[in-house]
């Protein structure tokens, strides 16, 4: 059976800098110049204080696993060949949370609160997805 192609992100115009940076191997998030809080995913105004003065900053790329699961069966069609794969929510040092995959380790070694760092996986010529792997040391 032919597998459907992997879904690519449907990009909102104001999030384009995130995807351009990811293609270059950089993880960028927003920060509010007024309340100084970090923001993910990208917004047109600060979801904390409603300010329009949001800027892009490079994130540390370090965080901890808030929760995770190993997908072993019943994956969406485009992901069947990837099973088993890990879906996780990572909380970055900057305080924001993002959905990701944990790669570069045995899926069953993943744990809550495990320290992780960002890595990048090319999806196609246009898109590179930030993913995470266990921190070294």
């Amino acid at each position: 059976m032919e597998m459907p192609k992997k879904p690519v992100p449907i990009v909102n115009p104001w999030a384009r800098p995130f995807w351009e940076a990811a293609r270059k191997g950089q993880l960028v998030i927003q920060r509010c110049q007024d309340c100084k809080k970090h923001i993910f995913y990208p917004r047109i105004c600060c979801p904390h204080c409603f300010s329009d003065r949001v800027e892009w900053v490079e994130a540390s790329g370090k965080g901890r696993i808030y929760s995770y699961t190993v997908v072993e069966n019943n994956a969406p069609s485009a992901f069947i060949r990837d099973m088993p794969y890990v879906i996780a929510i990572v909380k970055l040092e900057e305080g924001v949370q993002m959905l990701t995959n944990i790669v570069g380790c045995d899926p069953h070694q993943v744990r809550c609160e495990m320290p992780v760092q960002v890595t990048f996986e090319k999806l196609d010529e246009e898109f590179t997805l930030p993913k995470f792997r266990p921190s070294i040391g």
Binding site: K6, P7, V8, P9, I10, V11, N12, A15, Y41, Y66, S67, Y68, T69, V70, V71, E72, N73, N74, A75, P76, S77, A78, F79, D82, Y85, I87, A88, I89, Q97, M98, L99, T100, N101, H108, C112, E113, L123, F127, L129
Partner: protein, 394 residues
Amino acid sequence: MSGLRGKIAIVGIGEVPTGRFPDTAAIYHGIESAKLAIRDAGITKDQIDYVMPTAALYSPPFNTELVTCRIVEELGLKHCKKNCQVFAGGASGSCGLQMAGALIATGAAAYVLYVHADRLGTGVSAQGGIDLFSTAGISAEWEVPYGQHYSAIAALTTTRYKYETGCKDEQLASVCVSNRKWAALNPNAFFRKPLTIEEVMASKMLSTPLRAKMSNMLFDGGSAFVVTSAERAKDLPNKPVYVLGEGGLVTHFVFSQEPDLCRFGWAEAARQAFEEAGLTPKEIDVAEIYDSYPVYQLIGFEELGLCERGEGGGIFLRGETWPGGRLPCTTDGGMLSKGHIGAGGGVSLLVEAARQLMGKAGARQVPNATFAVETGTGGTYMDAQVTILGTEIP
């Protein structure tokens, strides 16, 4: 806080069996449920002046029929002023009841018919269902590219909930067992054979630690209810089921943005609802808790204050929520055993709460049920909606 305390009531309910009916048109589930609800209310069809069909997911053309007044015409409702869709995913029933109530309380409507019908069991393939629920309500930019889908979402909650509370897999399985015991008494339920913890634990692993028999399955079905004012309800045949309190909180759109993955907004929604009702969780006779996966039923049960956090698993395991138990929970079998019919999963729970309070639940009737709490949540558990109903106004 609804501002509707004691002002409006559910006066009629209708429901068709949940199952796989390849030869039955989706609209039938809506027309038949609505017909039953109108007759149950003891009114004439032409007294319905407002129809709220909630959304169907299996086919956009079918949903368009619901939007463009097919239910009104099929039933021949001659004085229907408006047909307007109210849709909030699995929270549709809870939100629809409040919107219907607000229209009635202001005099904009007299008798509102709320109706659901869908065909997710035979209208889409098994893999089609997985694929539908790897996109519907899931962010196309931030989550779909990572292989996110609803089993994984429930698994993410379950993993963290187990980490924080020490809940065991057997306790999660016991929620499925509890719901199955109720479904065995419900002629409209799909799964009615007894289920054991061992069978749940032996079923296929989907996304760790979630197993196949901890997952809802999609079916065809429908249900409906009629709402009117407390004044009018007094002259109708059913015991009026008054709305006593309501609370709600929206906490996310993108699942990973949920600030508390294993609490959500339930505690705040429950606080509002109990405060308006003038009741405490101890006074609840029956709890219809949204149960698309066992962890959400446990979280709802605990966050509503029906027990302490982390104690829910033990309560389900000991049978306190089973037929004859101290606190009957999700008494129609819920989405886990009656079957998941889309937005109607939540509408069914509301209909069941009303059925129990009217004293019309047959073999599964909870004796002397006066106060019920019902919960609904939509999308990826984006909101927490709590409704308290009763046959007395405390």
